[in-house]
């Protein structure tokens, strides 16, 4: 059991990396038809091989030693960010070049931030309920500082997508730091509002309402239908969760949560419908400053055409016309999911979504089994980081989310993010490994 704990994530990562490699080659197929003559492919292959070795290595290091390293990594991350903006003014400070190695500064920051923040919050975790309002405020203020210093630096680059990742981790950590019934409800409503705003923005950009247009423009009969659908969904969910985690949840509680989520959604709709058009435009351009380069939503429309035209079986590898005729922008990084969907069809796209979500479920499982507070929060933070990347990227490709330049983990081209992802996942594997025996006992004791 212990030996096999690395098997599932390693397999998933390997499959995803190979798929990524194939499609990075496909994206540049017209430039050089030989696999090994392609510099992008060679670089990515190098990172994959290096990454898998590192993965096995890190998975066998005790994750607790990162606690002590975390502050140094965090501080050096900030120093690198500042340096890159002041001294190395290359590519708006996003990249630093050291000889032949160049890396993305914000990726390194993600890692340092995640480690240090998880360490910091876990130190205060035990006392979290007993804290008085003044002490709680102090902790809150410190987390604010930890989050907002790198976030603002990254925003300056400007990289809105990555800064959202920091914010998301901060929100999740605070939620788990002191999760009372009131805070949970508040969070669920806020989440509804965020989703509502996000879907509003994406529908404004793509001019296609889709699923959320349906939700936002309902009549009474549809509300009743939705209510019973939620009831049914909750019951099924209850069974699934009881089966997977051995925990029973209250159906009424689930329904309440989902209803609260919709309350948030409709609140967002209410607020948005009162905004003037220029105010809406301001939000859209804030989220996505480059969305109107070639008419509204050209990128998104082309991405949707690529996905849709793949149909069930796909057009075949290297045969995607959206790919070959340059209709897909950034198809080796941000829009690689569309490329896979075009050439491998529903099967390929479903496989990618399945594997990526398998990783997310795995990370939640790690959090669920974590032995100590640091392990729990690190796994949670890792989950949030990957969740933001996967949901924002695939959502953008599918045209249900605004376009932010966020890569798809283990598939998109890019060495820095790939190695950082490997590091994070490796540490999680180790957390999972060490938790094993204790968790088992724990369950039976309860």
């Amino acid at each position: 059991m212990k030996k096999n704990s690395i098997f599932l994530p390693l397999l998933t990562v390997t499959i995803l990396s190979v798929i990524g490699l194939i499609f990075i080659f496909s994206a540049f197929y017209y430039k050089s038809t030989s696999f090994f003559a392609n510099t992008f492919v060679i670089k990515e292959l190098f990172f994959i091989l290096l990454g898998i070795l590192l993965f096995v290595f890190i998975a066998n290091i005790d994750y607790r030693i990162f606690k002590n390293l975390s502050f140094i990594l965090y501080i050096s991350g900030i120093i690198i960010l500042v340096l890159s903006m002041v001294i190395f003014r290359t590519y708006r400070g996003r990249w630093i070049k050291l000889g032949i190695i160049s890396f993305q500064t914000s990726e390194f920051m993600k890692f340092g931030f995640l480690l240090y923040f998880a360490h910091f919050i876990s130190r205060h975790f035990e006392r979290s309920v007993t804290l008085n309002i003044l002490e709680y405020s102090m902790v809150f203020f410190k987390t604010l500082m930890i989050t907002f210093i790198p976030m603002i630096l990254v925003l300056k680059q400007p990289d809105l997508g990555t800064s959202f990742v920091f914010a998301a981790i901060w929100i999740i950590f605070l939620f788990f730091f002191r999760a009372t019934g009131f805070i949970v409800s508040l969070y669920v409503i806020l989440f509804g509002i965020v989703i509502g705003v996000v879907f509003f923005i994406s529908s404004e950009i793509t001019e296609i309402r889709g699923l959320f247009g349906f939700l936002l423009n309902m009549n009474f009969i549809k509300y009743i239908t939705l209510f019973f659908a939620i009831l049914l969904f909750s019951m099924l969910l209850n069974i699934v969760i009881a089966f997977l985690f051995g925990q029973r949840i209250n159906i009424l509680f689930t329904i309440l949560l989902i209803m609260l989520f919709f309350v948030g959604l409709f609140l967002a709709k209410g607020v948005i419908s009162h905004l003037k058009q220029y105010q809406k435009n301001r939000i859209i351009t804030f989220v996505n400053p480059s969305y109107d380069i070639r008419g509204s939503g050209w990128n998104v429309i082309q991405s949707k055409i690529a996905i849709g035209s793949g149909r069930v079986k796909g057009k075949g590898l290297f045969k995607g016309t959206q790919n070959k005729f340059n209709f897909l922008p950034e198809r080796h990084t941000d829009f690689i999911f569309s490329l896979i969907s075009e050439e491998w069809g529903f099967y390929g796209a479903f496989l990618v979504i399945f594997l990526e979500f398998l990783l997310l479920f795995y990370l939640l499982f790690v959090a669920f089994k974590a032995n100590d507070a640091f392990g729990l929060f690190f796994a949670l933070g890792s989950f949030t980081l990957f969740f933001m990347h996967i949901v924002a990227n695939i959502g953008m490709n599918l045209g249900v989310m605004p376009v932010t330049g966020i890569p798809l983990p283990f598939i998109s081209y890019g060495g820095s993010f790939y190695l950082i992802s490997i590091f994070i996942l490796g540490i999680n594997v180790n957390i999972f490994k060490q938790s094993h025996e204790v968790r088992r006992l724990d369950l039976f004791i309860k």
Partner: protein, 614 residues
């Protein structure tokens, strides 16, 4: 204890993970539904969109069919317009560059006019100088390119405006029609008038289609040279290609040289002229003056020029060959034919200058009268009294019945748009037209007999009638088209009168009109060719007693008040070959200008061997 407390707290917190799991499943479901919708439910739609993305269908415009004269000379020239275009999807700085470079071509263009999603037409039909400047320094004009669009040029200008007509760019209003939208676009020319319009479908040809592959930046991609993957799909798309089929040439029956000569002769008048082959019905000259230079319509025409043309008192926009006019004295030929047919000529009393018929006193143009006349003498003299009597004997019903037997009441269906149906009177015509109380009085038949009142014929119809007389009984179809492509045009020739003797007196009368001493058409007498004809003068201003008394000189009258003159004729006398109808508005007597011009034209035709000599 401390450890288990910690674990207790951890597992409490972990319960909240369920909320996250719920939302994760929720989002997973949303993604799968969305993916399924895009790829499985709407897959076909998006597949079509993706193929539409990469192909750009470029139409190949065929050459418009030429219009040739009788001998194969081309009356039109197919030229190419060099239209200047600008690429789509340009940025601000690029547009600024374009704006600057256009100044070198003397083209003022504002980048605010730029439309992102399409090729922008900057200037239609570059001048030769601009075109050369562009071609030589292509690199100085980035993002601009030239397309060759076939167009027309009419080298003879006004001479062939009738009946050829003109082409012009398809207008926005025309493009709104579904039938036109199917074939034409904004760069296409379409026949707007005349034969160009009437035979548009034959002339325009069939457009070809070229399938090009283009990448997102509008760059052309040749799939056969680069390895672009899905060759099977490309080949399938390529199958839509078609080559263009040029329009059919149309050969006219008109003779170019004769047309030029005739137009030059008549250009200062408001005249119409039809010269027709009596046996075949081929019209070898078809003129309506003044005409318009069709080249001015090619690019569209300004309001000022249009107003000037349409307000001209000589009506250049009217094809006078197919308008209806009172035939005046030329109609006496038909009255004569009716008289001969009914055999009532022998009952005619001598002309005493005035006669009372049906209770109305009618005058002859010669106050002293012509005395006793035979039919041919009456035609020669154009004696009103004689024909009043003859008309009275014939009667309105017989007029109509005989007109019907020789198809006088039918259109000739010459290949010209807007031909008027001849107005031939019948007993109930006034009721049908709503004139007066609707009853036909016998005195009105008298007016008809000398070609006045409710009788109107067009010059083309008149030419058909003259051919009928000259050929002694055959009605031919006057036509302008010899063949379309390789296809011969169908015509008709109907023998309607078997008794050729009926025509002898009429034809000898027509001969005498020109050649006999005292004939009304004496000015047309020629030594080179024996012309037979008949004059006609159509009063525009009502004759009052004052005018009869003093008969003032025509030139004292204003242009609009002068008489319209007819001269109908055919040559040669013994074996007629050609019939000619010349009608000049406001020229005075038919015996003057029309007769003189008729003589000139026949002599020219004789000299140039149009008429076969025996």
């Amino acid at each position: 204890m401390d450890s288990s407390n910690k674990q207790d707290k951890l597992s409490k917190v972990k319960k909240n993970l369920i909320i996250i799991i719920i939302f994760l499943i929720f989002i997973l479901i949303v993604f799968i539904i969305k993916l399924f919708t895009l790829q499985v439910i709407q897959g076909k739609k998006y597949f079509v969109l993706s193929t539409n993305n990469i192909i750009s269908k470029e139409q190949i415009r065929p050459l418009r069919g030429r219009i040739l004269d009788k001998n194969g000379n081309s009356l039109v020239i197919n030229v190419f317009n060099h239209n200047l275009y600008l690429l789509p999807y340009l940025k601000k700085e690029q547009l600024q560059l374009v704006e600057e470079s256009l100044k070198a071509l003397n083209i003022s263009w504002n980048r605010k006019k730029y439309k992102k999603n399409q090729e922008n037409l900057i200037k239609r039909s570059l001048s030769q100088e601009q075109f050369l400047k562009f071609e030589v320094n292509k690199e100085n004009f980035p993002y601009l390119f030239i397309k060759e669009i076939p167009s027309r040029y009419y080298p003879f200008k006004k001479e062939f405006y009738y009946p050829m007509g003109y082409v012009s760019l398809v207008s926005q209003r025309e493009l709104a029609q579904e039938a036109i939208k199917k074939y034409y676009d904004r760069e296409d020319y379409i026949g707007k008038y005349g034969l160009e319009k009437l035979f548009e479908k034959d002339l325009r040809g069939i457009k070809g289609l070229k399938v090009l592959f283009m990448d997102a930046k509008g760059k052309k991609v040749d799939y056969s040279e680069t390895d672009m993957g899905n060759i099977a799909l490309f080949k399938q798309l390529k199958q839509q290609e078609r080559s263009a089929v040029n329009g059919k040439d149309i050969q006219l029956t008109i003779d170019k040289d004769l047309q030029l000569y005739n137009y030059d002769l008549l250009k200062d008048f408001s005249a119409s002229l039809v010269i027709m082959n009596i046996n075949s019905g081929e019209i070898i000259s078809y003129i309506s003056t003044p005409a318009i230079d069709p080249n001015i319509f090619l690019m569209g025409i300004s309001h000022q020029i249009w107003d000037k043309i349409s307000q001209d008192e000589k009506h250049p926009l009217m094809d006078k060959c197919v308008q209806n006019y009172n035939p005046a004295s030329t109609f006496k030929l038909f009255t004569a034919y009716c008289g001969e047919k009914l055999n009532v000529v022998k009952n005619i009393l001598p002309c005493r200058g005035v006669i009372k018929l049906e209770g109305v006193e009618k005058h002859c143009w010669k106050k002293t009268g012509h005395g006793k006349e035979t039919l041919d003498e009456a035609i020669k003299n154009s004696c009103n009294v004689f024909f009043y009597q003859l008309g009275d004997h014939v009667g309105i019903d017989n007029y109509y019945n005989i007109a019907k037997t020789i198809y006088l009441d039918k259109k000739t269906n010459v290949e010209v748009a807007g031909e008027k149906k001849p107005m031939v009177p019948y007993r109930k015509i006034k009721r049908d037209l709503g004139i007066g109380d609707g009853t036909w009085y016998p005195s009105e038949t008298l007016d008809i007999s000398i070609g006045q009142g409710l009788i109107e014929l067009s010059p083309v119809k008149m030419a058909q009638f003259i051919a009928f007389l000259a050929s002694k009984g055959s009605v031919v179809k006057p036509h302008l088209i010899k063949n379309i492509g390789d296809k011969k045009i169908e015509t008709y020739k109907i023998e309607v009168e078997e008794d050729t003797n009926i025509f002898n007196k009429i034809l000898s009368g027509m001969h005498d009109v020109v050649n006999f001493w005292g004939g009304t058409g004496w000015r047309a007498k020629s030594r080179k060719v024996i012309i037979s004809g008949k004059t006609g003068t159509m009063q525009v201003k009502k004759i009052t007693k004052y005018y009869v008394k003093y008969s003032p000189d025509e030139k004292e009258l204003s242009y609009k008040e002068r008489d319209n003159g007819w001269f109908v004729s055919y040559v040669p006398y013994d074996e007629p070959q050609y019939a000619m109808v010349l009608f000049i508005e406001h020229c005075g007597s038919g015996g003057y200008y029309p007769a003189i011009f008729t003589k000139k034209i026949w002599e020219y035709m004789m000299e140039k061997d149009y008429i076969e000599k025996k």
